[in-house]
Amino acid sequence: MEIVIPPFDLKSISPIIILTISAMFILVADVFFRKKFKDSLGYLSFLIVVMTGMVAFTQMGKPVYSFSDMFVVDNFSVFFNLIFLVSTAITILLSVSYVKQEGINYGEYYTLILFATIGMMLMAGGADLLTIFLGLEIMSISLYVLAGFRRDCVRSNEASLKYFLLGAFATGFLLYGIAMLYGATGTTNIKGIAEFLANNPALSNPMIVAGTSLLIVGFGFKVACVPFHKWTPDVYEGAPTAITAFMSVGPKAAAFAAFLRVFLVALPAVEQKWSIILWVMAVLTMTVGNLVAIAQTNIKRMLAYSSIAHAGYALMAIIAGGDFGIASLLFYMLAYAFMNLGAFAVVIVLGRKGEENANIEDYNGLGYKHPLLAVTMCIFMFSLAGIPPMAGFIGKFYIFSAAIKNGFIILAIIGVVNSVISVYYYLRVTVVMYMKEPGREFAPLSLSPFLILALIVTVWGTIHLGIFPAKIIALAQKSTLLY
């Protein structure tokens, strides 16, 4: 007998390959670069990401399976890849000057970011629980390290420790869930599971139900929804700001990608159970996130809670499901990437070595010291609050529409009420910037051309998606077919 090597098509994973190779190259190159040239690593990785983005974009079109149905390239994953790459690129832009200023200017930094990105792409494209698990781990492990990258800073250490322990803990649940599904269905392949459940009783099978619940725990942890959200504020606060920005966008999106694929493709049979659970979780997540954010004084922490709240909105999309739901999630994630990264960019611009100036009071009177920066911050805040004509509004509108279309009107109402609550703390930032007198002198801004570029890109994205979203929406609607 001869061994049949299943066909595998490298083209389908070309972005991943590019990233992997270049990541390793940077890792090596780092050794040979002298300290003052380290920036070039940043530039390099930025270029790589952009390039990868182009390659990834070309993959739009009909779906391609490879590696014996372990990995799939469909518009859905491609769209998500673009989100990841956008957020990675912007993160790199934010980092270049930031790492210098924080004195953590090592090559691994970029390598790890790139690896994390690879992980995300695997998650988005994973057609098999195994692939998804791998991607998730690759991403997480890089993030554990990145969170603690400011080695000399206790908070940074604490952040990474907490993230690590809890992350691993949650992974345990995820895996146990996978195991149960495997046990019940005999396969870890998403389509396989779907087919099996289509032909066999699903709801009556406790193992499947329990497995599903455990998956919810695993993914719920990654997307930070209540009650698995508690790591978020601490980690976001402790981690280097650039990484916080990254974590709040890329990994969250990746987790959602996997979450959505697994639940809508593999487990539709169990929907009537998980949709109720997710319904409750979404409500809790939105409400807790928004409520607690009000009481925050540290802007990073506040944004952490706001990201929890946004996870809640995004969950609505999964619950709603259907083309509308999926497309809305895609759009929302992109919009969220722009506005959230932008907000963090402003935080970084105001930050100093040692003192991060991350207390909201530190923004008093910013509007008159640095009008342009303040305007930018306002744009992001209003966008996050979901006020037209910003991207955030269209995103929220899209998700609520999805929820309503599929009959979750109560959920939508809770959602909008929540966004009113959220207005309160987003406004507070604008209030202190414009309506309070400067408490103390502002140190000169640490504006590098890269940061400026980052700000421009994010502002452009936020406004453009707000005013001319048509193209992106069209793209998102083209990317709703899951395989």
Binding site: L130, F133, L134, E137, I141, Y144, V145, G148, R151, D152, C153, V154, R155, N157, E158, A159, S160, L161, K162, F164, L165, A168, F169, T171, G172, L175, Y176, I178, A179, M180, Y182, G183, G186, T187, T188, P233, D234, E237, G238, A295
Partner: protein
């Protein structure tokens, strides 16, 4: 012949022990060990299922899990060392600068 169910029960017990351990121990390393225990419980489950369904997927999965666990161990220990450097403790209850 021992029923496969027993293996499953065992893995469940292991998992629980691990989880409880995470909750009750204070030493970061021990907590991490407990997590490893949980992962191994998962492995056991996978193997059992693989056996039951006599398919390879489960066992392959186990390999991956072990690898990942190793990687995690490396990173985790590094992190714990880093924190020990700064705080001279690995007691997670003393590590709560950031709260609320």
């Amino acid at each position: 012949m021992i029923l496969l169910t027993w293996y499953l029960i065992l893995s469940g017990v292991l998992f629980t022990i691990g989880a409880v351990g995470v909750l009750i121990r204070r030493n970061a390393i021990v907590i991490f060990m407990c997590i490893e225990l949980m992962l191994n419980a998962v492995n056991l489950a996978f193997v059992t299922f693989a056996r039951q369904l006599n398919s390879m997927d489960g066992q392959i999965f186990v390999f991956f899990i072990m690898t990942v666990a190793a990687a995690e161990a490396a990173v985790g220990l590094a992190i714990i060392i880093a924190i020990y450097r700064n705080k001279a403790t690995v007691n997670v209850d003393n590590i709560n600068l950031m709260k609320w």
